[in-house]
Amino acid sequence: MDIDIIFKIAAVGIIVTIICQILKKSDREDIATLVSLVGLIIVLTVVLDMVAGLFDSIRSIFDLF
């Protein structure tokens, strides 16, 4: 749960950047934007799960709403 998630997101970011560069050089611009979109969606779903977990733990501790 600790730092490995941050490393994973950073890794996804770097990989997506490299793939986009390659695709741009071989003039497939549309696929490049598609790849970066897919990478963004994957990362956002992971982050969304984490935020949901945080809100659940806060709700359980503060027995808020």
Partner: protein, 130 residues
């Protein structure tokens, strides 16, 4: 010992955010959120013990439970609003962060109103007795 881990996570998140900011700004936004969530999860664990002790004190001294719950609710609201406003401000949306902080204050005020009402009714009942 916890502090070292928290500082480590904070630094790593900052580095990852800067790394991704040049190529993929939106991913650096996600890294910042992830780092903030991890830091908050650490603090939430530590906070849960203090809250347990806090409620025990409440029961021991016989303070009304709703007071304790309201205080906890206000602490939680402040906690979450700070989390969200910090991230939003980090990405240049200063005005939205201010709106969030303002909304948090309004919600805290709305939550605290019943206590004020209770106080006023208590005082007025005393005055009638006199």
């Amino acid at each position: 010992m916890e502090l070292v881990k928290i500082i480590g996570v904070g630094l790593v998140t900052a580095v990852a955010a800067i790394l991704l900011r040049s190529s993929k700004p939106e991913l650096s936004f996600a890294v910042t959120i992830a780092g903030a969530v991890i830091l908050l999860l650490f603090t939430v664990d530590m906070l849960s013990e203090t809250i347990g002790i806090f409620s025990q004190i409440g029961e021991a001294t016989g303070i009304d439970n709703t007071l304790i719950r309201t205080i906890l609710k206000i602490v939680a609201i402040g906690y979450l609003v700070e989390f969200a406003a910090g991230i939003v401000e980090d990405f240049g949306a200063k005005s939205i962060a201010d709106k969030l902080v303002f909304a948090g204050k309004v919600i805290i005020f709305a939550v605290a109103i019943p206590i004020v009402q209770g106080l006023v009714t208590m005082v007025s009942s005393f005055l009638e007795l006199v």
